[in-house]
């Protein structure tokens, strides 16, 4: 088990390294170098040249990459161009807001999605199942930023039930939660659909397995078969799905933060673009990527810990 966990985390390190190389290659390959991008069209060639050497862009490519890679390992993602503060600090300042948003979205999707999926599987083919099915597909289909804008329009602008902008007063948990409801729902509602469908499908698949037939042939009560024999297996893919989903949720969070004018990484990057604050953009991309990769590794490790088949094959 420990061996599996180490192996999986090791793989994550490799994936992040490759992702960094790709990010670096992207910066390098695309015409228009970061220095002139940062300085804007009015910069003189001398200014660009000065910044280039300050950013190390005049070095050979592999030196640049090694520097980029190893300073990132140390947590040094460069200096923010406008204020001169370390990028990592700027990003970490915004990270908690985004994490809260994603945690909220995951809560919605788990708390609503798993029970809905179970109900649909148990009542398969019935009216309830069909309604849940159609609603799941519908919320998956509609993009989260459209949901964000429309829920803002309806609940905050027209009905004025919930606050429209910001993350709430610092230190006031109630106000912060209130501000979290709409944006996290906008991100999470699609995932309620995903989870419900996934749980339904994997419940149905598990219920067809021959060991369930054995359990029935031994006269076990249907409730025990459903909840302790089938759900235990059917729940496993949900964890993988949520792990993968975190990436999409980070994307959705960008929209939610802009629509609801919440602080967060998405908003940080969006604003950095308009002033061509390139180090902030790369830094934020790296931090979210690492976050996503680590979350996925943990999702896999949790599954391994819950599934005796995987657990013992590595012990």
């Amino acid at each position: 088990m420990l061996q599996y966990a180490l192996k999986r985390l090791g793989l994550s390190v490799v994936i992040v390294s490759v992702a960094m190389a790709m990010l670096f290659a992207m910066i390098y390959v695309i015409p228009g170098d970061p220095a002139s991008v940062a300085l804007g069209p009015r910069a003189t060639p001398e200014m660009v040249q000065a910044l280039r050497s300050r950013m190390g862009l005049d070095q050979p490519i592999w030196v640049q990459f090694a520097r980029f890679y190893f300073s990132a390992l140390r947590g040094d993602l460069g200096i923010e161009i406008l204020s001169g503060r370390p990028v990592l600090g700027v990003v970490f300042e915004q990270l908690p807001f985004t994490l809260a948003l994603i945690a909220g979205a995951i809560s919605w999707s788990v708390l609503l999605g798993i029970p809905l999926g179970c109900v649909a599987a148990i009542r398969r083919g019935g009216f309830v199942d069909r309604v849940i099915g159609v609603l799941s597909v519908a919320v998956i289909a509609v993009p989260s930023f459209v949901i964000a804008i429309y829920s803002l329009l309806i609940f905050a602008v027209a009905l004025q039930w919930l606050p429209a902008i910001g993350a709430g007063e610092p230190g006031n948990l109630g106000s912060q939660l209130k501000h979290l409801i709409l944006p996290s729902l906008a991100i999470g509602v699609g995932w309620v659909g995903y989870i419900a469908r996934m749980v339904r499908a994997s419940m149905l698949e598990t219920l067809e397995a021959s060991h369930i037939r054995t359990a029935r042939a031994f006269g076990l009560p249907e409730s025990r078969i459903t909840y302790s024999y089938a759900l235990r297996i059917a729940i496993l893919p949900t964890i993988t799905l949520l792990g993968v989903g975190v990436g999409t949720m980070v994307s959705s969070a960008v929209f939610a933060e802009i629509v609801f004018a919440r602080p967060g990484i998405g908003k940080l990057v969006y604003e950095a673009i308009s002033v061509r604050n390139y180090p902030v953009v790369t830094g934020a991309v790296l931090v979210t990527t690492v976050f996503f990769v680590v979350v996925n590794a943990f999702a896999d490790i949790i599954i391994a810990a819950l599934d005796p088949r995987v657990r013992s094959s590595f012990s």
């Binding site: 994936i15 790709m22 804008i149 999409t248 979210t288």
Partner: protein, 295 residues
């Protein structure tokens, strides 16, 4: 039982004519609904010039922020442009990007998937690592990073969508190819002396392409959403051009007093994504019910 059912079946082609499939789609309420929406969206995009009474970029400062009326079915925006005609033309861009990006990612995904699945082990591992790395960037973050360098453009949107979609298709094709690689019919072909090209083209590709086409059709609404989203952020289509995302952005800025602009921008996105999704779901159920599990 099932064995018996097969034994006495009259010879039948696996893919029957379009007719019965069409009937089965229409028989499902959702499928029929999806099909109608898709037909409307495609039709209005194709004939946008004919249907719309104003050019989509025509400014008329006198008519700024006009609510819906007979002259302007969906009202006008902050520059007095007719929203109905902007919505119709925006549909063109949305569909063009969706089809183009999906097609390109499919082609790339199938090619890389076959290489990874059938090629040498080291190449497979390398490609998997690349796929994982690409997949580990949150899509919008990657788009933001790219656009910072290139400036907003449709091409950038296209590139991001293809880049993030290829790994998904490639992985599915790879897994299927790996399974088929050791399947008995492929071993049989190898034992007859069939070459790699023949095995891939005759014995593997036809067996993996069906599911991936259906999955791709279900990705069309996702691409529509990405294009609209990036345009909403001002990273996609450049301003005068109509795009649903751009209309939404125009409306969002004025959401407190001119709600109809966000309605005009958002409703087509909702109808299009719902239409394609419902149709895709029904298609999948009709063609290959097993796929449902892989979702």
């Amino acid at each position: 039982m099932s064995d018996q059912a097969l034994v006495n079946q009259p010879p039948r082609r696996r893919f029957a004519a379009i007719g019965p499939i069409f009937r089965r789609i229409v028989r499902e309420p959702l499928g029929a609904f999806g099909l109608i929406l898709v037909v409307i969206v495609v039709f209005s995009a194709l004939f946008a010039d004919v249907i719309a009474s104003y050019p989509p970029t025509k400014l008329s400062p006198a008519e700024r922020f006009a609510p819906a009326s007979f002259q302007h079915l969906l009202g006008t925006d902050h520059l007095g442009r007719d929203l109905f005609s902007r919505v119709l033309h925006g549909g063109r861009i949305a569909l063009a990007i969706a089809l183009g990006a999906t097609g390109l990612s499919l082609a790339g995904g199938i090619l890389l998937g076959l290489i990874a699945g059938y090629g040498p082990r080291w190449l497979d591992n390398l490609l998997l690592l690349l796929f994982d790395a690409i997949k580990s960037f949150p899509t919008v973050m990657l788009a933001l990073a790219l656009v910072t360098l290139t400036g907003p453009s449709l091409l950038a949107v296209l590139a991001v969508v293809v880049l993030v979609n290829v790994p998904g298709y490639a992985r599915i094709i790879r897994t299927q190819t790996l399974v088929l690689k050791s399947a008995e019919h492929v071993m049989a072909a190898r034992s007859m002396g069939a070459g790699t090209a023949r095995i891939l083209a005759v014995h593997i590709l036809p067996n993996v392409i069906g599911p991936i086409l259906i999955l791709a059709s279900m990705d069309i609404p996702v691409v529509v959403a990405i294009e609209a989203g990036l345009s909403f952020l001002g990273l996609g289509v450049r301003p005068p051009l109509p795009s649903w995302g751009a209309i939404l952005n125009d409306g969002f800025v004025n959401i407190r007093d001119s709600y109809w602009i966000v309605v005009a921008g958002g409703v087509p996105i909702i109808l299009t994504t719902l239409g394609f999704t419902f149709l895709g779901e029904t298609l999948r159920d009709v063609f290959d019910p097993r796929l449902k599990r892989r979702q």
